[in-house]
Amino acid sequence: MEEDFKVIENYLMVRMPEELDHHKSVAIRETADRMILREDVKNIVFDFEDTRFMDSSGIGVIMGRYKTIHCLGGQVFAIHADGQIKRILRMSGLKGIIEVLD
C-alpha cells in the first residue's frame, strides 16, 4: 500500500488500484490524508494507469482530498484515466475542478 504513495517535491503521487470501489477507497483515503499531514504536500496526482474500474467511491476519494488540497492552495490532477474513468469523472462534475491529463 505505502509503495503506491510517493512524495516528489510538494506533489503527492497516488497510484490508484485496479478496482477503485468502497472496499479499496478506505485505505487510500487514510494513507493519503496521513501523508498530506506528515509530508510537505501541496498538490496531489492520482494516477489511474492500472485502474480498470471506478464507482462513486472513487469520486469521494478525489473530492475529499480536493477539499484539503484546495485549502492549501494546491491543485489536484488525474492522469492516465481510461474512457470508463473519464466518463465517471465527467458525470460527477469533477472534471471541472480538477486537472484531467493524459
Binding site: H22, V26, D55, V61, M91
Partner: protein, 150 residues
C-alpha cells in the same frame, strides 16, 4: 417466438470485500447476451453502487446479507439488489444528485445518479426498519459504441 428466460440468485455477507465479487458475478452472468465493453462497465458500476449502498447505508457496516437476483428475458437484463437494513425514509430525496447522509465518510451522493444513468430503468422500494430493494433494467446488445465524447 417465446423469449427464453435465464435466472440467477446470489446471497452474500454485507462486507466490503464482497463488492468486487458481486459486480463480477453479474457481469459474467450477462455475458451470453454479448454485451459491449461499455455495457459491461455500465452494469458493473450500477451493481457496485447498489451493493455498496446496502453495506454502508442499509447495514451501516454491521452484519447482514445482500441478495442479488438477475434475470435475462430476451435481450433485457433485470437486476435486483436487496437488503434487510434500515431502509430509506425519503426515497425522492435520497435519489437527488449529491444528496448523501454520510458526507463524513467521503460519500458524494452520486450513487443513484450513476445507477439511473447507466441502466435504462430503475425502481426503488424501501421501508424504514425493514430494508431496501433496487430493481434495474437494461437492454443489452443494441446500443452502439459511442466512446468518449470530449
Amino acid at each position: 417466438m417465446e423469449k427464453k428466460k435465464n435466472e440467477m440468485k446470489i446471497e452474500f455477507d454485507a462486507r466490503s470485500e464482497n463488492e468486487g465479487f458481486a459486480r463480477v458475478a453479474v457481469a459474467a452472468f450477462m455475458s451470453s447476451l454479448d454485451p459491449t465493453l461499455e455495457e459491461i462497465a455500465d452494469v458493473k458500476t450500477a451493481v457496485s453502487e447498489a451493493v455498496t449502498n446496502s453495506i454502508i447505508h442499509g447495514y451501516e457496516e454491521q452484519e447482514g446479507k445482500v441478495y442479488i437476483v438477475c434475470e435475462m428475458t430476451g435481450d433485457v437484463l433485470q437486476v435486483s439488489v436487496e437488503d434487510q437494513g434500515k431502509g430509506i425514509p425519503d426515497i425522492e430525496k435520497a435519489m437527488e444528485p449529491l444528496y448523501t447522509t454520510k458526507p463524513e465518510m467521503d460519500r458524494s451522493g452520486m450513487g443513484f445518479s450513476f445507477m439511473e444513468a447507466f441502466m435504462d430503468h430503475l425502481e426503488v422500494a424501501s421501508e424504514v426498519g425493514k430494508g431496501t430493494r433496487i430493481e434495474m433494467w437494461k437492454k443489452i446488445g443494441t446500443t452502439p459504441w459511442l466512446g468518449e465524447e470530449e
